[in-house]
Structure formats: C-alpha cells, structure tokens
Amino acid sequence: MKRMREFDDILNKCIDRVLKGESVEACLAAFPEHAAELEPLLRTAVDTRKAAAILPRQEFRQRTGYEFQAAIRNMKPNKSGFFRRQLRWVTAVSVVVVVLLAGSGTVAASANSMPDQSLYGVKLFTEEVRLVLTSSELEKAELYTKYTDTRVNEIIKMADKGDVEQVVKTTERMNNNLKAIAKLIQPVGEGDIAAEGVPEPLLVAPGTAVTPTPTPAQGNTTAKAPTATLKTAPVPATAPARAVTSNNSKLAVTAKADVTTKANAQARLNTTVSNQAVKNTQDLQETLKTAPDSVKQALEKAIEVAGKGYEEALKNTAQKKK
C-alpha cells in the first residue's frame, strides 16, 4: 500500500514534468529504479497530452473576448480611485499586449472589415481595447471621434449595398460614439480635464438587435434629408484639421498637465469634430441621393442622428471653451 502511494507520487511528479514539456527520458533518468514501470505510463501520458492540446479557433477567441467585454460593461463596474486607476492601466497593458500578440494577424485583417463581415467583431473589440487602455478623457474623445468617422464610412458602404439592417445597427453604434464624445467633453469645471464623469467605452456587440426610434413619417423616399444645424467651432490658425492623435499622449501623464497643451489639444478636437460633422453629414446626404430606395429611410435616420449627435458634441466643446 505504502509502495503504491509512493509510486503514485513519483508518477504524478513525472506527469507534471511531461505536461510542462519535459521528455519522458528525463523523467526516467530522474527515477531509474522505477523506469521500467514508469515508461509505458508516461508514453501514454504524452499521447493523452497531445490529444488534449486542442486549440480554440482564433475567430472564436476574438468574438468571445468581445462579448465577454460587453458582458462586463453591462455589470456597471464600480467607480475606482486614482491609484486603482493607475493599477488598472498597468495591468491592462499586460493583458492587452497578450490579446493583441495572440491575434495580431486577425486584428490587422479586421481593420478594414465591414459590419456584414465575420471579422467585424474583432474590429469592434480592438477599438474597445484601445478605449480601455486610454486613460485621458481627451484622448478617449479623440478615439470616439475617429471611430465615429469609421462608422459613417461603414453606413455609407452598407447603404450602397442596400443592407438596411446593418445601416440601422451601425447608426446605433455611431450614435453611441457621438454620445460618448458629448459626455467626455462636456464642461465639468474650469481646467478640469480628467476627473469626473468619465463614461466607460460603449459597446454594442455585433449582431445585437437594435431597436431604432421611430423615424419621422416620410411622404416619399426621395424627400429631403434632415438637415443638421451644425455650428462650426472656431478653428485655430495653427491647428491642422485632422492631426488629432499625434501629440496628445502627454496629456495622459497627469491631470495637471500644462494648461496650454490642454487648450491646444481641446482646440484640435473641436476642429476635428466640427470638420467631421460637416463632411460626414454631407457624405451621408450624397449617399442618400444614390442609395437604393429600400435603405433610404434608415439612411435618413442616420443623417438625423449624426446631425443631432455632432451638434450636441460641438455645443459642449463650445461651452467648455468659455
């Protein structure tokens, strides 16, 4: 009995080593007096280890990761303090580096995917990861601005294809992004750029059913598209129209960053949002002229949502500026 227990222990030690990738021979050399008894069992253990080394499909891994993130978001996480926020940031880097390294090929391949394609979930997940990793409100707003631009392009592509369902879903995602921009840049007090009211990145899982709000009745499908009443924010003479991501990383270092830098970054964001508002609304209206009739109602809704969303965001940037 005692001998059997001892052998069970030795066998277990060898299995641990085999599971870690060590060779059978190395284990046998460590326990020569049991080698004859151990060898056939360890060979079987190696076969079993090989049979159990089943890898999940990369696409499944990415999709599930995205849906897991969405589920976490729905849990309404507790607010965290400054130190916890820093710890989260550090840990997030290690987690996401793993995620990105594991699926870098898929992530790259997903960058240009459209809502009706299988890799689109990966694209949204990648956006989500970047938002999680971004601690500065201003940088988050810039990312949301960029992603809104992406959503508009997707709406146009989907409208061209006559895919009403995807136009509606993508409009909802665009609307979420615009709401996030408005919330992130809403005035929260003089000079305060990083403390209160940070909305978590918004997630709409691919395939999630979206219930659009009723569209105003249209007499016919060629009726005039809703016109957005956009106020273009003043553009600083030196601010390049779309250079939004290059120099802002310094802002994330501390909430007490240089006031001038913050003002410049804010001004650049205003410029980007206002330029994008005009251009994207025009692009959507242009698309409406040539889009299939079946998709026009959804597209008009998208134009209306874009108009209101950009207007709200610009209103907040204007108030913040005062």
């Binding site: 069992l41 159990a52 089943i54 890898l55 499909r57 897991f68 989260r88």
Partner: protein, 203 residues
C-alpha cells in the same frame, strides 16, 4: 426537473478536509478586484483561463461548436457569480472548472448522442506535414475513444489534468477528493488508457 448536483454524478463527494487554502496574494488581489467588477482584472482572469476551459470542455464533449458556446457561457456565468466566490473554499481555477463541469453535465444530460471529436481543431499549431497531421489525428481519435471507456471519475481526472492542466491539488479541490485519491485515480486511468490503446506492459 430537479437540479442535478453535477459533481455527484461522477460519484464524487465534497470533502470538508479540503477546506482552507487560498491562492497566492497576487491572485487573491486580482480576484478581489474582479469581484469589485474591475474590467481589467476580469479580463485577465478570462485570458488566463480561456484556453484551458475550452480544452476541458471540448475534450469532454468532443464537439467544437457546442464547446465554443459552452465556454462562452462558463465565463458569462462566472462573472455573474464571482462575487460569491470564496478563496477559502477552493482555488479559483477549481471553482471555474466546477462551473464548466456543470455546463458539461447539463449538456450531456440534454443530448445523449454519440460524440465525435473535431479532429481538425485538435492538432496543435505549427503542423505543416500532412502525413504527420493525419497520423496525429488517428492517435488523438484513439486516445479520446479510450478516455470514454474510463470511469466517470477517471475521465474527470484526465480531463482536468491533461486538458484543463490543473495541478493535482486543484483537481482534488474541484472534485472534493484528497490529493492521494486523485493521484491513485490518475494512475489507474493512465494504466487503463494504456490497456485500451493496445500497448502491452501496463504497470
């Protein structure tokens, strides 16, 4: 329909003697943050356990598509109930495998059809040689079929040790057995596999 206590289906009982060990402090801290719904902590736990849970499930049920759905459900269930997890009861990995085990048992109870193993997904990465891949597929098929011939408790030990890559201590906690009992079951299971695979000279 009554709720099954899944671990008991494999003839396994909880042992009070196994109470008491928590994880190392870093993991405890991670789990505490996860219990406070910290997104990064939850993501880290997910990343650390995802492949292992998937392997465990697919090894047990042999159906890739079903295993994918069930793996997803395990993690959704886990984040819903993580606040009730107490490290003094068992290691986190053991707790997670209990959730996975419940999923598997529920699945097998619903579907009694014969299992087929997704061989195309069973081969590890970096295998370019078609002949070698084909041979490996046959070997895997044989092993999985042999595992089905084990007792339920032995199957559980093999699945948790080889697919889930749990330590004997974690397996013992998950199954409510002593480490000595798990080691003995492991020995018996491998010896039985050896026989089933037709290789003479069993220990």
């Amino acid at each position: 329909m009554h709720r099954v206590t899944p671990w008991l289906q494999a003839g396994i009982k909880k042992s009070p003697a196994l109470e008491g060990s928590c994880q190392v402090q870093s993991e405890q801290s991670l789990i505490r943050r996860a219990q406070q719904r910290d997104q990064v902590a939850l993501t880290q736990l997910y990343e650390e356990n995802f492949d292992r849970i998937y392997r465990y499930i697919v090894f047990k049920i042999g159906d890739r598509t079903e295993a994918e759905d069930m793996t997803q459900q395990v993690f959704l269930n886990a984040i819903q109930s993580i606040s009730s997890y107490n490290c003094k009861g068992m290691p986190f990995s053991s707790w997670l495998y209990r959730i996975a085990h419940n999923q598997v048992v529920d699945h097998l109870r619903r579907k009694s059809r014969r299992i087929t193993v997704p061989l195309d997904e069973s081969i590890s990465a970096n295998e370019d040689d078609p002949k070698h891949v084909a041979e490996q597929k046959i070997e895997i098929e044989e092993v999985v079929a042999a595992v089905k011939g084990l007792t339920r408790a032995q199957q559980e030990v093999i699945s948790l040790r080889f697919a889930g890559q749990l330590s004997v201590m974690e397996v013992a906690k998950a199954m409510g057995k002593s480490e000595g009992a798990v080691k003995a079951m492991q020995h018996g299971a491998i010896a039985a596999l050896r026989k089933a695979l037709g290789k003479v000279g069993v220990a």
